[in-house]
Symmetry: C2
Subunit: 317 residues, 2 copies
């Protein structure tokens, strides 16, 4: 039995981090909102992102731009890493100008990237040998909830890591699942979620275009299905993008190419078959190969429509 | 644009069918509950089922057993057919002792089986040539809601068919989606739902056994995922069967072998690719082939577990 608990906040950001110095590495759509939530909770936030545009966004709420991860993390007891994958996280920690050596002795590195459990365990092991703590803390909820300090965080790690990270987690999250005392456990929960989420996006895309092929009123299909046994969180959330023909990337196709790839690698390494995840990955790969890798993941529906010469809303035939 | 409306009842069964004679053909777990709901609403219910055990259940609430579909439907203006598929429906209508000739001139045949749209259209066409009405009316909600008169009915057909069927529909359903004025439209909506439902059961089964392979606490996985973006109606509804090791068939594996087969046939006939439905169908076929065709559809999880030598709750290794 893994120890577990849910900590729900009342939603109002307080002064959990008053005066605390926190570094945020990675100021994309998620990281910038998390940095802003930390600042709102009273933290002194230093940040780094290789994209120059991030500097202005950080300054807008009083954050302090740094020239490298090490400079942002220098002497800090809390470092939040909001990058895309395990390789970037490794670079943030152990690359040139990395955080591992620079952060305070006994400080905690809160790692938010989605990655294979074994990668989280390996990074944690290296960091702990340097006398610092690692919290495996993948996030979900999207950029809007990141900006509101209302993310869901799946976390596992040593009790001291949780203790040290608590004020920052409270500032950034509405719900914290405490999923175990070893890094890698939270990563595994996140991958189970991503397996389902990826399959459901592909299935929603297949179903709505199948409905189009059958000549059905797609708005009516959405209304009926979203109240029926065929519903999924992803169907309900993503199909409106298809109905509006709006593929502005809230979450890009490339994210699920990556995450379903991790699921496939994990499963293969344990000789475990995942044919549903495999079929979904192929659909995301086809969509990326057709030029839509950076578009919203509901673009899988556009791929089906292109293949079958169907005109979804907003699509030229 | 297909005309559509939702009619929600207040939930309390009234006397919608007071004194009306209604025949119900097919008294399985769904049909018997629907017959009981009709009787509760004041209908005089005659019923037929080839299984002798159904007779006693029908008599328990004052229903009148008949020896054949024709005998049950003789002279009736409303006949409800709650059989498994298109072939059985065709037999109920046009087979020896079928309802088509026996029912009243201008009466309505409410067809609840899940079937391909073209089959619904063909059956409707034959019946209309005999001066009788056909309502394409697939149902969902399970046996408990059938018994409560609280089903969801997806329906399409001529306005007169709806008008004649209205009291019976009100007695049996909590929600009626009126999806068009031609038989086959409701069938197509139902197949879109079944595509998603089938994929989601297979995905839920894959994900929970993948989580088991990763050594995660499955009750915790259920708790986290059912509140996360990876959730689906089916994950939330079926995974408790897995956690309890209870495969008593609420809905059998064979149902999705059938329904995903219909989806595949429909899609192929329109040259439309459905790889997600295809992968799911293979998982249901493997589960059926492994001897679990008549067990609950969450048995797909047992198939994954057997293949990977995992012990889910209630399973001998």
């Amino acid at each position: 039995m893994i120890p577990g608990e849910v900590i729900a906040k009342d939603g109002a950001n307080g002064a959990e981090c008053a005066g605390q110095e926190v570094a945020v590495i990675g100021l994309g759509s998620m990281g910038i909102g998390m940095a802003a939530s930390l600042a709102r909770a009273g933290a002194v936030v230093s940040g780094f992102d290789p994209q120059p545009a991030a500097t202005a966004r950080l300054k807008a709420f009083g954050g302090l731009p740094a020239a490298a991860p090490a400079a942002a993390a220098s002497g800090k007891r809390v470092v939040v890493s909001v990058v895309v994958n395990a390789d970037q996280t490794e670079d943030v920690l152990f690359g040139p100008d990395g955080c591992a050596a620079a952060m305070a002795e006994g400080g905690v590195f809160i790692s938010c990237a989605t990655m294979a459990p074994e990668r989280a365990r390996a990074l944690s092991g290296r960091l702990e040998q340097m006398g610092k703590l690692f919290l495996d803390a993948p996030i979900s909820g999207g950029s809007k909830r990141a900006a509101e300090g209302a993310l869901t965080v799946l976390a596992s790690g040593a009790p001291e890591a949780f203790e040290r990270a608590a004020p920052a987690l409270e500032a950034m999250a509405a719900t914290l699942y405490r999923l175990g005392d070893a890094p890698g456990q939270a990563a595994a929960f996140k991958m189970v979620n991503q397996l389902l989420a990826g399959v459901h996006i592909a299935a929603a895309s297949e179903a709505i275009t199948f409905a189009s092929r059958e000549g059905l009123d797609l708005a009516k299909v959405y209304e009926v299905i979203s109240k029926s046994a065929g519903n999924s969180w992803m169907f309900e959330n993503r199909i409106p993008h298809v109905l509006e023909g709006d593929y502005t990337p809230h979450s890009a196709v490339s994210i699920f190419v990556k995450d379903l790839g991790i699921v496939m690698d994990m499963a293969r390494s344990r000789s475990f078959p995942v044919p549903m995840a495999g079929a979904a990955l192929q659909m995301f790969l086809m969509t990326a190969a057709a030029g839509m890798a950076a578009d919203d993941d509901a673009s899988v529906a556009r791929l089906y429509a292109q293949v079958a010469d169907l005109a979804l809303p907003g699509m030229a035939r």
